[in-house]
Amino acid sequence: MPNVLHRRMLSRSLLTSATLLVVIAPRAHASHAPGARTLAQDTARVTHLLARATFGVRPGDIDALLAMGRDVWLEAQLDPRGRPDTALEARLSRLEAIAVPPGELLRRAANAAASARAATPSMAGDSAATAQPRARMTVVPAPRVILEELVTARLVRAVHAERQLEEVMTDFWFNHFNVFFGKGIDRYLVADYERSAIRPHVFGRFEGMLRATAKHPAMLFYLDNWTSVAPDTGSAARARTLTPRQRKRLMRGGRPVREPLARLDSAQTRRRARGLNENYARELLELHTLGVDAGFTQHDVTEVARAFTGWTFRRPTARTAARTGDAEVGFLFIPANHDRGEKTVLGRTLAAGRGIEDGEDVIRMLAAHPATARFIAAKLVERFVTDEPDADFVEELAEVYLRTAGDLREVTRALFTSERFYEVRWRGAKVKTPFELVASALRAVHAEVGPSRQLARTLNAMGHLPYTAAEPTGFPARSDDWVNSGALLARMNFALDLAGGRIDGVRIDPLTRRERGIRALGLALGSPEFQRR
């Protein structure tokens, strides 16, 4: 008996939601026509493109794209300049904390830390009362608020942006050059990192993005390069000759401090710094450019770390924070902390006696390296085509990369226009990541998305809350990283909650839900078909 019930429920879920059917399985109802390529084939190709190059198909998207023609659509997506998305800007304008410049955020944080220290415990009540008017003017947004806004912006963009490809590629490249919201002051820097180091470069040259990330305070802080100095610079030698008492003081400073901003002005940084830190150098080679199997050695890692000594950043300090307007945060090269010795990186010699040019040369060298071309190509194929990167396709994209000196617009165009991309065997072959599932479900039902605690909770429970990948590898792109029994239940529950209108901050046309049936809609969005793209 239950089986009969199931079938009735299922057939309703598939038959009554005609529009959704297009979104989930468009091939099923496309008609067959004679010719070089049938409409059914065209529809399937276009659906595949939309499934991979956007955050999900909305009702009507396929017809629109068929009418427009693939190339017209793709070119507009690849070059969105001069096409402002005013509706999106309006939606994002309500997010205030992430719009504050990072220097200003750091200044306020340093200021708040200074005044918190100034207040003795016994006077805390009084000083809080008197400090209030000033505090209101320079309030530091709570980390929770910043993260909520960051996630909201990601979701709103994924669901509502017209420039879908830019959003998809921003997600891809942020993940490639991952930084972690939860690490110290990066909470104040992540929004700017995406805004200035990633997004403007997704259709630019890879070298430009590599350099922008290398110099952004968020990356310098995340992978610790800001603390890396030549082992034999004056500051390192000074640290070695400290009296025990001075060393004790250093240790105190070396401990992670609850509020590092106030304490570590650049002079102190120089005093604290004592030698090489190879964290950034290793991930630069392994994750950002060559890939772990490119044959670089521990020696290369150390030499690259030496090349980047002295690359750090300036930021507001306890002393300057009180002065409004002095809220600069940005890349800083300190020649005194740079290792001026000769270096050998991947067999090439960097002459002694130079400064910032060492790091710049390494960036150029890595961006132009054939191993980087192949590594980037393989990562693109893994994310946008198939879990097991197809060697011929990787080679094809790597060639485009090398021919165009790493022009990402050209590489991305090649990805989505190659006949290899449209091979039938890739269709529906990727399992959506949790974020892709959430975004595509919201798009499928034409939802209006705003700040939503529950969406954030859901993404977190599925292990895919944006900006919270702690490790430099970012979030995985392969299906088997995301498919397991518990995760499937979470996907089904999300589908049911969305269909049932139980997610705060998300509006679906009540008529849509009534027409399709809440249960049927939930089952459709939670079905195995909808988990694929």
Partner: protein, 444 residues
């Protein structure tokens, strides 16, 4: 092998002995089943993966080595003092980080063993690769399709018999009973291996069912709507074999079993205080599954935050805070399980160690060997096991890191075999010849 053999090994041996007496196989099977049913609870291994590479040298400190203090000018921990506050002395040479104080009584009572200078023979210092190698237990081979814990599930489970002779069939029957016996009360294969978290770790991935559970208390469909559960089960059942495979079937089966537990009302033993946060919750829920007798053989939880390149601190600070959470969690779990720790081994692992010398930022970079902790009633505790390679620069691996003197697979293999009763160890550790003489005697 001078510790009590596992139940499965015991059953298998006594079964074979009965066969050798010429008794008919059916009788042997029946009598073994009767003898073992409900006689003993299943054994459980709880794996804690410290992702990010914990600094084992500041966790279990070789404080008697002068080089330790020479290499670590600001982050070295002060030697043990009579008045306390420094390293906790274990044996005059090694000592615990004071943040691990909750584990000290377990060491003294012989329930905590430490294997130092353990790790992988592979030189990689990539987190990603090293974790992969440790989770597949095949250092240097990236193409290994499944994780070692999944293969352990295979090796403690009855496989289909392909033998043709009567003797083989009889031996298989004994195996089968032995396998059943080691899974007393189990009806849900997926609950034999459970990882707490949103994703199944590489260690547990593979052909044998295993489950990732983010939160036991919210493990169900639509707030326990059985109609929806059945409808989804039907949708996923009609899939041809694909990436979703049995994941959905396993999930629904587990949901049905867990629904029958009054798990939501779970209260740890009184006085037990798990640390707040994901790690504490994971351990609490693993304890809950063990006490519920759902047949849990392998529990798995992650704890991160160990990649202390910068300002890792000493007695206090970043590393100390992580160690505090780790130690409080393990201790709470231990106290919560009480005498059931007789059937449980907790095993910590981390992908590699950290540099012997501190770096320029008051932290440590990626290194080589590390230490492994094993906790349990049958652990050969109260010892720091393994050979100590020394910390003087010329003794270090590549002149910078602690050398590996115990292959991590020798620790894993001993636990898999002697605690969980896994046989076919050659399949659990492919390409690694099993040599029991290398085992460190982690278990009594």
């Amino acid at each position: 092998m001078n510790r009590a053999t596992s139940r499965r090994v015991f059953v298998r041996r006594s079964g074979l002995a009965l066969l050798a007496l010429g008794l008919p196989p059916e009788f042997v099977t029946r009598s073994l089943l009767a003898a073992t049913r409900g006689a003993e609870r299943s054994r459980t291994l709880v794996c804690l993966f410290l992702r990010g590479a914990v600094d084992g040298l500041n966790m279990v400190v070789p404080f008697a080595e002068p080089s330790y203090y020479a290499h670590r000018r600001t982050i070295a921990l002060p030697a043990p003092r009579a008045e306390g506050g420094g390293i906790i002395d274990l044996d005059g040479f090694f000592g615990l980080h004071p943040a691990l104080d909750p584990l000290h009584p377990l060491y003294r009572r012989g329930e905590l063993a430490i294997v130092h200078a353990a790790g992988s023979p592979h030189p990689t210092r990539s987190h990603f690769d090293a974790q992969d190698f440790m989770e597949t237990a095949t250092p240097g081979t990236k193409s290994t399709p499944d994780g070692w814990l999944n293969r352990v599930l295979g090796a403690t489970q009855c496989t289909s018999c392909t033998g043709r002779t009567l003797a083989h069939a009889a031996a298989h029957a004994v195996d089968h009973v032995a396998a059943q016996a080691s899974m007393t009360g189990t009806t849900v294969p997926a609950l034999r291996g459970v990882a707490m978290g949103s994703a199944l770790p590489r260690s547990l991935r593979g052909e044998h069912p295993a489950l990732a559970i983010e939160d036991l208390e919210r493990f169900g469909i639509g707030g326990n709507d059985i109609g929806l559960e059945d409808a989804f089960a039907h949708l996923y059942q009609t899939r041809q074999a694909d990436v979703f495979g049995t994941a959905a079937d396993d999930a629904f089966e587990a949901v049905r079993v867990l629904r029958s537990l009054d798990g939501i009302l779970y209260e740890p033993r009184s006085g037990v205080d798990y640390p707040t946060g994901n790690f504490g919750r994971s351990l609490r829920q693993i304890a809950q599954l063990i006490k519920a007798d759902v047949g849990l053989e392998i529990g798995f939880a992650d704890i991160g935050g160990w990649d202390t390149h910068q300002a890792q601190g000493g007695i206090e600070g970043q590393l100390a805070r992580r160690l505090t959470e780790l130690a409080r969690g393990i201790r709470a779990f231990h106290d919560d399980l009480g005498d059931r720790m007789e059937d449980v081994v907790i095993l910590t692992m981390s992908e590699f160690g950290r540099t012997v010398a501190e770096n320029g930022s008051g932290g440590t970079d990626h290194g080589h060997a590390n230490c492994i902790l094993a906790i349990g009633g049958r652990v050969n505790g109260g010892h720091v096991l393994g050979d100590w390679p020394g910390l003087e620069t010329e003794l270090l691996y590549q002149q910078r890191d602690l050398a590996v003197t115990t292959d991590f697979r020798d620790v894993f293999a001993e636990i898999a075999s002697e605690h969980l009763g896994a046989d076919r160890l050659d399949q659990v550790f492919p390409g690694y010849p099993i040599d029991r003489s290398r085992w460190r005697g982690v278990l009594r």
